[in-house]
């Protein structure tokens, strides 16, 4: 069924100089030039509102606006709901979406406020005083052991050391482009943090950034072999993803081309299916087996991360993982991004990361096993303030991916699954990939992290805290606003004014 397009292209004819940049830049083929009428025309039905043409139009002749041609208003059946039914009635298909859940569900970060010192315990000026933002992720010993000569045994289980408590989370080569991976790898390397390969293997060109790479092992085991496991600084077992808990990954055969097929080690054009479960994991004991098989294969030199989606029983699940031999747990909340996920799963499955994180931290503390593992929090960490709040709720570090994509140029049009990303990120089309210059992409990522580090220091300084580790789980530094007793209880924080 045809319906009026969601967006309209508004072109100022007096400003348009017919340079046709918009036409060349749009992979969705919205714009074209009509030579007879000497005028630019457009087919809005193809527009995804990625803002590429708007950004590159030299005379600001273009804007994309949401169409006001609406179906009859209905608070129950929204336009979106009705159009989804039309799409399915036409195709019989499962609805597929990209990026994080856009629905107006509560964002707890925005209901949490941070403390600052006044009069007593004075604030610290980060420009004047040293501030420590470095963190180590991994198991921490619960007692001191001494060598025969009485000196302290300083040998620690393997750790990941980050210059600041933020890392780039998993995005596979295949879901994002070579240039996007190059940008992330270079930036992580320059910043002294880590990026994550996702489940698509590691391109041979990026082995040089191994010191700042986390390699992922997912159910499909794509691109996994001894050299890959040893190439990185840590191994992440992907059990789940916040955008699609309980669902696997599926790179369509059309994207498994060239180097992507080589890196995944599958023939060109073949579907790369990562099923929802690991075929050998049905219990914490089985997870323990995968953790230890990886540790044995890499001679216990690398920490093992277990990544799970934030779901209802996350505290119990995390407790199991903390006993599985894993060094680090990564929890991914229901707003986390994705290159493609069934809409219904993305929008209806999983729980907010803020609640999951607080519940996990509390459970592990109550059980006396919090130091068995470090916790990474992901699934829509949007700013330095979110990072600070996450750490005060109990995280050791945060994973960001959507914010990293935005730094590289993403405009959150949520059309990654089409493979026609005009910004050169979520695409494998060579003409589009080259639009993202890794020199610029990596510099923008570095800038973003530099800015966040300054902001984290300022927020810490305001609280009178000069070491990020002193903030971890320090919930006294947080207050809720407009939250129910139950929400405050789960978050483990008081209400503002208390």
């Amino acid at each position: 069924m045809n319906f009026y397009p969601e967006f309209e292209v508004v072109r100022s004819d007096s400003r348009c100089i017919r340079c046709r940049v918009c036409e060349r830049q749009c992979a969705n083929e919205v714009h074209w030039y009509d030579a007879d009428g000497k005028v630019m025309l457009s087919d809005e039905s193809k527009c995804v509102n990625c803002q590429r043409c708007v950004t590159l139009c030299p005379t600001r002749a273009l804007k994309i606006v949401k169409s006001d041609c609406r179906l009859r208003e209905n608070a129950n059946y929204s336009d979106q709901t009705i159009k989804e039914i039309y799409r399915q009635a036409e195709t019989g298909g499962v609805l597929l979406s990209s990026m994080g859940n856009p629905n107006p569900l509560p964002v707890y970060w925005d209901r949490i406020l941070i403390n600052a010192s006044q009069v007593t315990n004075p604030p610290i000026d980060p420009l004047r005083e040293p501030m420590e933002t470095r963190v180590s992720l991994g198991k921490k010993p619960d007692h001191i052991t001494r060598n025969p000569d009485g000196s302290i045994d300083t040998k620690l289980p393997p750790q990941l050391t980050l210059s600041m408590p933020v890392m780039f989370s998993a995005m596979s080569y295949g879901s994002i482009s070579y240039n996007a991976h190059a940008s992330l790898a270079r930036a992580a390397s320059a910043l002294g943090i880590y990026y994550n390969t996702g489940e698509g293997g590691l391109h041979e060109d990026f082995y040089q950034y191994g010191k700042n790479t986390i390699v992922q092992v997912a159910s499909g085991r794509f691109g996994v072999h001894k050299d890959y496991l040893e190439a990185g600084a840590a191994i992440e077992i992907k059990m789940g993803q916040g955008a699609k808990p309980g669902i696997g990954g599926h790179l369509p055969g059309t994207k498994a081309v060239g180097d992507v097929s080589k890196t995944r080690m599958i023939p060109e054009g073949s579907d790369a299916i990562s099923p929802a479960p690991h075929h050998d994991i049905y219990s914490i004991e089985d997870l323990r087996q995968l953790v230890y098989s990886l540790k044995e294969a890499t001679e216990y030199r690398l920490p093992v991360i277990v990544k799970v989606a934030a779901v209802h029983n996350i505290a119990a699940i995390a407790s199991g993982i903390a006993r599985s031999g894993a060094d680090i747990i990564a929890i991914d909340g229901f707003r986390g991004g994705t290159g493609a996920a069934p809409t219904r799963i993305r929008d209806n499955v999983g729980i907010p990361i803020e609640l999951a994180l607080a519940a996990v931290d509390k459970r592990l503390r109550d059980e006396g096993i919090r130091n068995n593992v470090s916790i990474i929090c992901g699934g829509s960490v949007r700013s330095a303030a979110d990072v600070v709040k996450a750490i005060a709720l109990g995280a050791d570090a945060c994973y960001i991916a959507t914010a990293a994509c935005l730094a590289m140029g993403c405009h959150l049009c949520r059309s990654c699954h089409t493979g026609k990303c005009n910004w050169g990120i979520a695409t494998q089309r060579p003409d589009l990939v080259k639009r993202l210059n890794p020199d610029i992409g990596s510099q923008r990522l570095i800038n973003l992290m530099d800015a966040w580090r300054h902001e984290i220091k300022e927020l810490m300084g305001g609280m009178g805290i000069n070491s990020i580790e002193a903030l971890r789980g320090n919930r006294l530094m947080l207050r809720g606003v407009g939250l129910t007793e139950k929400e405050l209880q789960i978050l483990g924080i008081s209400h503002a004014g208390e």
């Binding site: 597929l96 496991l229 599926h250 044995e296 069934p342």
Partner: protein, 240 residues
Amino acid sequence: MELNVSAMGFSEVNEQMRQTADREITLTGCIGQRFLAAGTGGKYVKICGIAGNALGAYLNGTVIETFGNAQDAVGDTMNAGEIIVHGNIGDAAGYAMRGGKIFVQGNAGYRAGIHMKAYQEKVPVMVIGGRTGSFLGEYQAGGIIIVLGLSGGEKPIVSNFPCTGMHGGKLFLRSDCAGIHFPHQVHHRIASADELEEIRPHIAEYCAHFGGDPDEILNAPFTLVTPDSGNPYQQMYVAN
């Protein structure tokens, strides 16, 4: 090096194997230690006893010969090398293996060859002499799985739900597979003489390890299972 491992945990056994410069290693008294020779290359490991779960996981060129049964996840994600089991094996053997060979004299449990894959010259091969449990070749994406049915009594050569989600590779069953139900995403038919010639070297290798006559083994109907071409999964979705 010869090592009696009956009183050792897996990490100690593996550590000792890493430490030795010897290429040939014999482990005696093995009682189910896990992860033996995980990730190793360039060695020959002879195991007497029962090998535990994840024998030769991520194997990278080593040859492992086990005189006894092996438990679950034999050759998990192996890349190169060979695992020869003079006995039966447990579940999920050869999970996601992408190179090398596994030969099993007897039977395999559930989900043998699950998510096996192949790339260019890397074509993994698994030969099971006996019968297999349910979900044989589940999600198979590449490689060759051969089941001979030489032992295991009157039971069918493969139990329920073989080849569920198969989307690559080949599966040969030495049986006409009458009464065995395959899912609709795969084709199955009796293999031609040419197709059997293709697997003769693997059968010959099996016989070299465990005895038997390749001609005799090949002189029986084999069912060849391959995925239906096209991308059946892509049609499932509509962009939203």
